[in-house]
Symmetry: D2
Subunit: 362 residues, 4 copies
């Protein structure tokens, strides 16, 4: 275990890359919430592969079917269940991978953990394909949160060494927040987006891949949301976000830059605005002691370069215990970040929904 997430809601994710299907059960949503399946489909399209030059060409319709949880278009108290039936299974591409684990994939530890019984085809349950289920659950949570004035958005902050400007941590508004998600390439500064795409195209031609960073923000959180110590916003979001394959780090507000700052630089002074307490700055990224401060919640997620590359790599045969050369065939995203971005939004939405339910605010 634990393909299960949540405290006041419970997400249970199932599926293998090349299995019969994949999906999720989400228990604990409030009843009476309209679920807009078209909007959900549109959200899931943002994650779908094969849409452009830099993503894998596998065409997956990825149309989720709902088997439980809705009645007359609204949540009804029963657990929400949605799934996608796999239609594009090509196990042949992966035939020898049980023998030779792909570097930087989960193949080797999974083979050991499950005593050789793991489904190695395409990474099995560890495949990025499974994040489609995250988007089903998170897409519904996004709709529910939006209705409460909570908006979640993200943009690509960095690909290789090309950096977008960050969100405005202090004055971020809904327009800026949601703008990147509406673009084909989700950045704030389009010229940086073009430079990023050039980097991706360049590594693609080399048969290589590249990493990146996503910046996510949440507006509208009630002050005080989040529980103490191990139930804080950072704890819950990080344990959700590290569920996405390829994540190597997460940081809030100034993140690792805080290490070089003085208290007098990093502390956020308070002021009174329109009869409300506001921060003059937001180095904290909207969270103190695990609780929302009312300023925009800001965090950064680092993604490693896609481990599947076309270049020849060194590995071993687990059966022969011999050293072997490995060439991974098939097409793979040279950069996972653009498709991982909506997944990040989805997991954030699930984490926030859980915290809202824990606090009795939803």
């Amino acid at each position: 275990m634990s393909s299960t997430f949540g405290t006041a809601i419970k997400l249970s994710v199932f599926g293998q890359s090349h299995g019969e299907g994949l999906g999720m059960v989400l228990d604990g949503l409030p009843a009476g919430e309209t679920v807009d399946l078209d909007a959900l489909q549109a959200f899931m399209e943002r994650r779908a592969p094969g849409r452009n030059a830099w993503s894998t060409k596998r065409k997956e319709p990825d149309i989720p079917v709902c088997r439980s949880g809705l009645f007359e278009g609204k949540t009804c108290g029963a657990p929400l269940m949605m799934e996608i039936l796999n239609q594009n299974q090509r196990s042949g591409d992966y035939a020898d991978l049980d023998q030779i684990p792909r570097p930087s994939h989960a193949d080797y530890p999974a083979a050991v953990k499950y005593g050789g019984f793991a489904d190695y085809r395409g990474g099995g349950h560890f495949s990025g394909r499974i994040t489609a289920a995250f988007c089903m659950a998170g897409g519904v949570c996004l709709q529910i949160l939006k209705r409460r004035g909570i908006e979640i958005g993200a943009h690509i902050l960095q690909i290789g060494n090309v950096k977008d400007r960050p969100f405005d941590h202090v004055f971020l508004q809904k327009d800026e927040l949601l703008l990147p998600g509406k673009k084909p390439f989700p950045v704030l500064l389009d010229e940086k987006g073009i430079a990023m795409q050039n980097v991706i195209e360049s590594v693609r031609k080399e048969g290589d891949s590249i990493g990146g960073v996503v910046e996510t923000a949440v507006l509208g959180l009630p002050v005080g949301l989040g529980e103490p110590l191990f139930g804080g916003i950072e704890n819950v979001i990080s344990s959700a976000i590290f569920g996405i394959g390829g994540v190597r780090g997460i940081s809030f507000g100034e993140g690792f830059a805080a290490a070089e700052m003085k208290g007098s630089e990093h502390n956020d002074a308070y002021e009174v605005q329109d009869g409300k307490v506001k921060g003059k700055t937001n180095h904290a990224g909207g969270v103190l002691g695990g609780m929302a401060t009312g300023m925009p919640l800001i965090f950064q997620t680092a993604f490693k370069p896609t481990p599947s590359i076309s270049l020849e790599q060194e590995s071993v045969s687990l059966t022969k215990m011999s050293e072997e050369k490995l060439v991974i065939s098939g097409r793979h995203d040279p950069c996972i970040v653009p498709r991982a971005l909506p997944v990040t939004e989805a997991m954030t939405a699930i984490a926030i929904t859980d915290l809202m339910r824990q606090a009795g605010l939803l």
Copy 2:
């Protein structure tokens, strides 16, 4: 809620900075484990304040009393309970803080969350003082893990802009791992440690504070330890580590540097050594798909500068809703990182113990 942590073990932490006591209950340890209370005390001393120039002068004996869980010196199946009775309560220093929240502390969101009923004295339950309880629990887990060949160590990687060299991610041995913890100032390169202490002394004289980064490593994890998706090593460790006040980010292996790397640079090739599968490199930091690879587990934790500084700051009166100047009196650590380091080791030990219990390996 949630001052509770764990899945197969349950840690419950209680206490307020200026309350009657603080401590923890740890349920689910294996029976028959010898608990060396002297070694535990020595471990807790590493966190204790007042030991040197750069830490606060409050003298707390911090001697934990065990009320449950041991029988004839060994764990007996009953939950382990230890506590420290507070003896050094000076609420007077904090008398007006309910009115004026300290910037970058939890005061403001806690006041809102608990409707004005939070114990604001010294941060109450959100105080760094509570991490003494983490060390009680983690110190016992460290002893249990050591007996299984699992060793945890850490060093200060960075204070301000002074950086220690990282652990050797590929060939790290127990000697190097545990060396920093035995030094008064826990670094690998002592000249860097002196420079760091100079930075701390410098900000202290200014009435200011400074942040830093801790690098933690774990040796001896069984290959495959860790559960899929939301139960992976990164998920569990991050949700534990973000329970420590002042943590702003966590990253594994190459961390945020992975964003600038190509797959051909970041992927760890496998080789066979002495009949075992090994990585030639360890950019992954010892964890793939949430599971241990058998290479050293490596992660970095970023700490913000201590929020309590002597310099005058701008805040607001929550009762009068007016803008106010705030000067925090009393002595505070100008840098929390040296004392936070054993707390990081402690929370890591608790997380690993939980994962080992989940896997039926402990």
Copy 3:
């Protein structure tokens, strides 16, 4: 929430009586376990309706489809997901039930709880139909436990005022344990079974229904299985068993009869047999302090009479707030006990599997 069960395994159940489907996700099973789908189907047949005179005539094929968790016929570490697609939806029969809650069904509190958004058709998520999902999960657990020498069986102890003899609580062997489950009517004494069927047929003709008691036993539990206080065998089994609709009570060993016994009568003396500690008697029903004693685990589950009866009943219109007569059309089991029996075995198997995983024994 909580259509989710378990600590070291997680069962998540979804579906509505007249929805698109129903099923379950079971996370945390050991890898490498063969799942015999034919045996599972045979087990599920024992719960299926329409098999004889006293059960409802709705014909449901109830063939579960597996979408996740198996690879080459064995569990592979991914969550096990199985579902049944609903093919026999006749919502018409239930058209007015949202207005007029059926006595002794969940209709009324569900309507209030979910603010009128509950799926009232056939009881929605509260329908006994959902227990098919329990049998999918439990049927697989039964196979896994059997492989470890743990056998679970049950018989009808009572229908109305007709009683079967109880299992032999001290000397129960596998043959006696599994015998009732192989019979069309699962009792130990067939003449009592005939009398029970007569009772059922009699109430059926009256348009009425009748309750009963199931006795369940488990052989082969390791001594000491079960956790203290709230994690004991009774706690875990009872919280599983009360998930079955219509259960009104559960008792272990002597159960409520213990109230009339003296300690000298109820205490089980120990003896040594073949170098092992055994109880001379088993009034405890195989569990002390929440832990298995090594004697057969014995418990009784009381079921109320089926609430759906053909007789006219008094209810109210929730919309008009007027008193109304209600006649429930359609066919319903006059006694739920025969079909509830395999469901009881299934939930017992899930609970025991969870306890075995918690103890690191599976």
Copy 4:
């Protein structure tokens, strides 16, 4: 594990009968709740031993000390921690019990489970003494619930074969509910109470003991309280109640008598009263589909006779594996039921508080 209980609140109980202390941490209570420590002490007195002829003569002051969770007399968001320091430790009485397990106690399975490391003195963590911690937590919950109009009461329904009349399941009011708890011997009909005490005195003289049944009721639950399937009122209460040593069964409403009833007898017709939906009868005991119906919640708990009796018993030496005679010295309650009654109320209050918090109603 699991001396931990709860979903939206977390109770963690610690202590051994003859250890340094016992107590509990309760995380997740709402902030701002006044805790009346005198009322709590009075509640705990109802469980205290040595108060009358039929209870053990050990005098324990049992005064809980609060170390965390209160600020200026009110809950403050920090976990509530209370403990009792043991002052009356007489290990000598139990010196040989590690060798010879007491029949019907947890000694034998605990010795096996913990590999001989269990604290066998007085039952260690399995001792009834630990239920003092249940009363600390439950006593506070009772105060919180009472403020919301939820009242919990209980009476002795049966000792041996002497039976009190049940609560009025349909028209139960607060006066009748709380009356028994105010009496020295908590029954509705005092003449039955005298007969029960005679039974107890009689078995005491014989060196024997006797079992009994407690009936508990809850008034004021909001309609719809309780979660589906495994989170229902019965599931949560039963998993709490089986945490009390000596409980052998639990049933709701008609309980096991429902087995002999027809649907036409057991179904509760609805009517409209003062514009509200009411049941004409309450055979369901106030709960359908796991959810509160608005009628009084009624359940019965069966207790076995105290296992500690003065009569000679047959047991075995676990070290010598020989059959041995055992005489338990010291004084023990010949009937645990009167003292278990407030413990039952306490665990009910904890369970209901958890359900209220889960539903966002507290």
